[in-house]
Symmetry: C2
Subunit: 341 residues, 2 copies
């Protein structure tokens, strides 16, 4: 039964530097009644992702900023608990851009049904969702890895990075991951089949990285920016390609100075391209099919870190910047009431 | 008549920071005798170019470093004064990579004949040579300017930059040049037909630049790097393209720190690619023909700054970094003995 009140999480302040719990506010709201062609959703899982930090600033970007004192919005999985749409019935599982809320009312145009029998529903927030597609398109369209080349990926134990490395292996390259703990290094090499993995927190990082890429770097898939990236640039081969996916090391800095990297790119005729997964929307279906096929064939593995409880959503988001999680970081909000997962 | 002795200019030290006259040494040498398939060349003009600063360092790059206590080598125009080659006769005018020397002996495979009747010989070191081809291929292959877009070029009054802006105008774009003196600004707007030109040495540079690109920046052809580039990045449009040709602002710095620019590229899905003209060697002939056609049609203009006297070659090179010259900077070494220019 649907209650009459629910909680939402709103953006209380635009954070300066590292966000804190004070930047979020929990607000009690009435659960809205439905209009024609709308569904009422009970949130099951919420995705927390580094790019959301950017939306907390009031700055021009590829996606509009979050509004102050309005609900934060991100990827989620939900169950349809009431429907005034012909497209959905009670108990359907859907995914889409959801409010950080226990319940939400949405147009039936804004969510997509998923089949809980074909793969665990959480994969639609990870390896089969935006995360996997980000890895897939950035690596293949910009990185264009060729068999025998060396691919380096930073943030390698994260959701996108771990998919990038595995897809690069499928494409026949030598894959080197960069991550920040011995546990992550072991995960990359032993669980995901990376050829090498290097811990950027060690004093010997620059040397370790150089040793891990005896033939230089042909593709650098960058999730982090900052000093890690500075070291990779010294090792670029001629005609290197750099898909620029994220720069998590700088998201919480008001000012971020580093050595200018253009000279490395001139010397090597390197190509660097920023991208967001939305650039490839027209090809999502093909990408998702390929990822699902690799998943079924056992060529792609994924790891999830699931935090329990809606109230922990801000904490889970803040954890992203601590570098402790492995794989996709999710919040489990509720079990479904009608469906069986 | 060929003398028996001549002067060469050698690299005396690998400069740290800004080069000085002490980094060059003048060495007297015997003029070598010819072997089969060689020509003896009397140097007429030498080109001084910013990229040569890179060759003075002992660092891996797209081109081998100059050797210490050996002659510096760069683009030049010469007259054949003796020939043991069937391909060349006395009085032919040729271009190629020449020693900084009054005379040099070269294989007939390493120089190319030019026709002094079709265009002034110095254009083969500038608008019809590597300079023009650098502008042509970097702008068109990487920048891909579309009619109505805004193209910004830094180092705009230099040899490459002034060609870039004019080619961008031919392609129907709005062209904004960045340069460092009021004289250069006037040259760009009044002589070369740039839509706007902005002086980066003014305190109001950031504001002036923003005002000059009301529709943002679609293509940024970068010759300079550094703080000028930092301001341009703030104005990039979605899907901006950045041909990365040079970074003259950093060539004489041991360390060059600046704000990390990757976040701008992620937000705009921008593409940046380093290049050197040699990447396009297979297409030089087509490029040269197009440039020559535009020159004859009066669509391309060029400016030269010619320094007189072989002994002034190091000074001319050092002048490149003072930002005073307009257009292509050349040294006139001698008049021809047999040919008429």
């Amino acid at each position: 039964m649907v209650p009459t009140k629910q909680k939402e999480i709103h953006l209380a302040n635009r954070p300066k530097g590292m966000p804190t719990n004070d930047d979020f506010e929990f607000v009690e709201q009435d659960i809205p009644t439905l209009e024609e062609n709308q569904v009422l959703l009970r949130t099951l899982y919420l995705s927390v992702d580094p790019y959301m930090r950017g939306r907390m600033q009031d700055a021009k970007s590829y996606i509009a900023p979050f509004q102050l004192h309005k609900a934060i919005v991100g990827g989620g999985i939900a169950e349809v608990v009431e429907s005034r749409s012909e497209k959905f019935k009670q108990g359907d599982i859907v995914t889409g851009s959801l409010k950080w809320a226990e319940y939400s009312r949405m147009s039936d145009q804004k969510v997509r049904k998923i089949d809980p029998a074909s793969a665990p529903v959480t994969t639609h927030l990870g390896i089969l969702g935006m995360t996997g597609l980000t890895a897939y398109f950035g690596l293949l369209d910009i990185g264009k890895p060729q068999p025998g080349e060396t691919v380096v990926v930073s943030g390698a134990a994260g959701a996108v990075g771990s998919a990038v490395g595995q897809i690069a292996k499928i494409k026949g390259t030598r894959v080197v991951g960069i991550a920040g703990s011995d546990e992550k290094i072991a995960f990359l090499k032993e669980e995901l089949g990376f050829d090498e993995a290097v811990n950027y927190k060690k004093e010997t990082f620059a040397e370790d990285l150089a040793n891990a890429v005896p033939n230089g770097v042909d593709v650098y898939f960058d999730n982090v920016g900052g000093p890690v990236t500075d070291e990779v640039f010294k090792l670029l081969n001629t005609n290197a390609r750099i898909p620029l996916c994220g720069a998590i090391s700088s998201y919480n800095k008001e000012e971020d100075l580093g050595p200018r990297l253009q000279s490395y790119m001139i010397k090597t005729s390197a190509l660097m391209k920023g991208f967001t997964v939305g650039n490839y929307a027209a090809d999502f279906e093909n990408g998702s099919k390929q990822l699902a096929a690799w998943l079924q064939e056992g060529k792609l593995k994924y790891e999830e870190t699931i935090v329990e409880g809606f109230d922990k959503t801000p904490d889970a988001f803040l954890d992203l910047f601590k570098g402790t999680n492995i794989g996709k970081l999710l919040v489990k909000v509720a079990d479904p009431e009608y469906a069986k997962l």
